[in-house]
């Protein structure tokens, strides 16, 4: 509904842009903190980051838009109805004054005063109706604004919880994918161990060990 009371529903992209993010913050939230394809920690930690429910958000936003349209429409219809009633009542009063003039032979001044009074009362009622309409519209705007704030708050909560998750992961000392010396397979135990491989892995980890006559 194109009127001055409609809420400006920002798209997710616009909202994220105003916060300094893009859509990847919702679809791949770990990437903001170095967890993701081609990033420092790689994709191994993706399981701890869940994407934002964009569909659910958009559905809720549409529902809110619909609610706003309905509420504004209600206020508008109510105003139209009340205005029509007022016009009818005003028209009826004018008819009655004219009838009285014809029957009782009002002098010109008395009929005119009655019409003026009726017009003043009509104007006052009209102004009251306009005020009520504005109040109604403002109330709808307030309600929708509050709810939109709650909805947008879920987005901010999401971003905050992902930051917290990234912090938690980092506090547990995650390995970097190219970190040498980090052995990812179960050891083979004594006897069947390749000393050369082991030492080269350690050397990659900047642990200074003289290979001497050993190694592959």
């Amino acid at each position: 509904m194109a009127n001055g009371y409609s809420t400006n529903f920002q798209s997710l992209t616009g909202l994220l842009g105003s916060l300094g993010y893009d859509m990847s913050a919702l679809t791949s939230p770990g990437s903001l903190y170095g967890f993701g394809q081609g990033q420092l920690y790689g994709t191994e930690y993706d399981m701890y980051f869940q994407p934002f429910d964009v569909g659910g958000y958009q559905e809720a936003q549409s529902s809110l838009q619909q609610l706003e349209e309905n509420l504004l429409s209600n206020v508008s219809q109510q105003f139209t109805q009340q205005t029509q009633d007022l016009r009818q009542r005003y028209g009826g009063s004018m008819e009655e004054i004219r009838g009285q003039e014809a029957r009782a032979g009002f002098v010109r001044g008395a009929g005119g005063r009655q019409r003026a009074t009726a017009a003043r009362v009509g104007m006052q009622e009209q102004e009251s109706l306009v005020r009520q309409r504005e109040q109604g519209m403002q109330s709808v705007q307030e309600t929708i604004g509050t709810r939109l704030g709650q909805l947008e708050g879920t987005l901010l909560d999401f971003l905050g919880s992902q930051a917290q998750m990234a912090l938690n992961i980092k506090s547990f000392d995650p390995k970097e994918p190219d970190e040498a010396g980090f052995i990812g397979t179960q050891g083979s135990g004594i006897g069947t161990f390749n000393y050369g491989d082991f030492m080269s892995a350690l050397q990659g980890a900047n642990i200074n060990i003289d290979l001497g006559g050993y190694g592959g």
């Binding site: 809720a60 709810r147 709650q150 879920t154 998750m165 992961i169 970097e176 980890a205 003289d210």
Partner: protein, 271 residues
């Protein structure tokens, strides 16, 4: 159709659930890795203890062989009166005996399980394993040198003992030989019961090896005589001077040592 309130509550609930599940998974994964790392540490400790035990066992074996070489070498040095020969036997025996015990060269494999977290703890663990392996490698590499220096030391000790106690040993040997010659000792009787059908063994009967050690050329008796001569020469010279006689010239006395074993065999042939 769901109302906005429902949809909002659903969105919030879903997010809260995801956050909780994520935290739980993270913590359980970290805990699991921590336990695996602790278990690996325990295995490592057991491997280190095993290596220590094995190294000690081999060191004991080397020690026993060195001791045996020293006893044999020093014995030879004493009975032959040739400390250098004894030292040589000790040194060679010690070096060969200890050298034949293989070095401990079993390295500790990487026991750290794979994982996503606790990278510093893993790096520390790997460094500990590397350091232990380096120790094993250094010990193995240094063992040959250690065996040789020990052999030299053993040889020197053997030489010193032979030199220092040679005189006392000869006296004791001669004294004991007299005793053995006089009576059948318990040892001779016992060995005789075992090896000579009840007839006592005679360690020092004429032509025996004991007799060769005692009375052979350069044997115990010769050495005692030479030492006595050395000792009495000065005394005799002084007595001659006191008596107003012309003193005898002092001879340069060399303490003899036992001749080669072939002379013993030759002696056996003539007897």
């Amino acid at each position: 159709m769901a109302t906005f309130g429902q949809l909002l509550a659903r969105q919030r609930g879903k997010q809260a659930l995801q956050a909780t599940l994520g935290r739980v998974k993270l913590q359980s994964d970290v805990q699991k890795e921590q336990k695996e790392l602790e278990a690996a540490r325990r295995d490592y400790q057991a491997e280190v203890e095993k290596a220590e035990r094995e190294m000690k066992k081999r060191a004991k074996k080397r020690g026993r062989r060195r001791l045996a070489s020293q006893i044999i070498g020093t014995g030879v040095g004493l009975v032959t009166g040739q400390p250098l020969l004894g030292a040589g036997i000790t040194g060679a025996g010690s070096a060969i005996g200890a050298g034949l015990v293989p070095e401990y060269e079993t390295y500790i494999g990487d026991l750290a399980p794979g994982g996503k977290f606790l990278s510093e703890a893993r790096a520390d663990f790997s460094a500990d394993i590397a350091s232990t392996n380096q120790f094993i490698k250094d010990a193995a590499e240094g063992q040959n040198l250690l065996d040789l220096t020990n052999a030299l030391q053993d040889a020197y000790t053997s030489y010193t003992i032979s030199k220092s106690f040679g005189k006392d040993f000869d006296k004791m040997f001669a004294k004991q030989a007299e005793r053995f010659k006089k009576d059948d000792t318990f040892l001779e009787r016992t060995l005789g019961n075992i090896f000579k059908k009840g007839e006592p063994m005679k360690f020092f009967e004429k032509g025996s090896f004991g007799d060769y050690l005692l009375s052979g050329e350069g044997g115990v008796s010769d050495r005692i005589a030479a030492r006595n001569l050395q000792k009495t020469q000065g005394f005799n010279q002084m007595m001659s001077l006191l008596k107003g006689e012309k003193p005898e010239e002092i001879e340069d006395v060399t303490i003899p040592s036992l001749g080669s074993y072939s002379s013993y065999l030759k002696g056996l042939g003539t007897n």
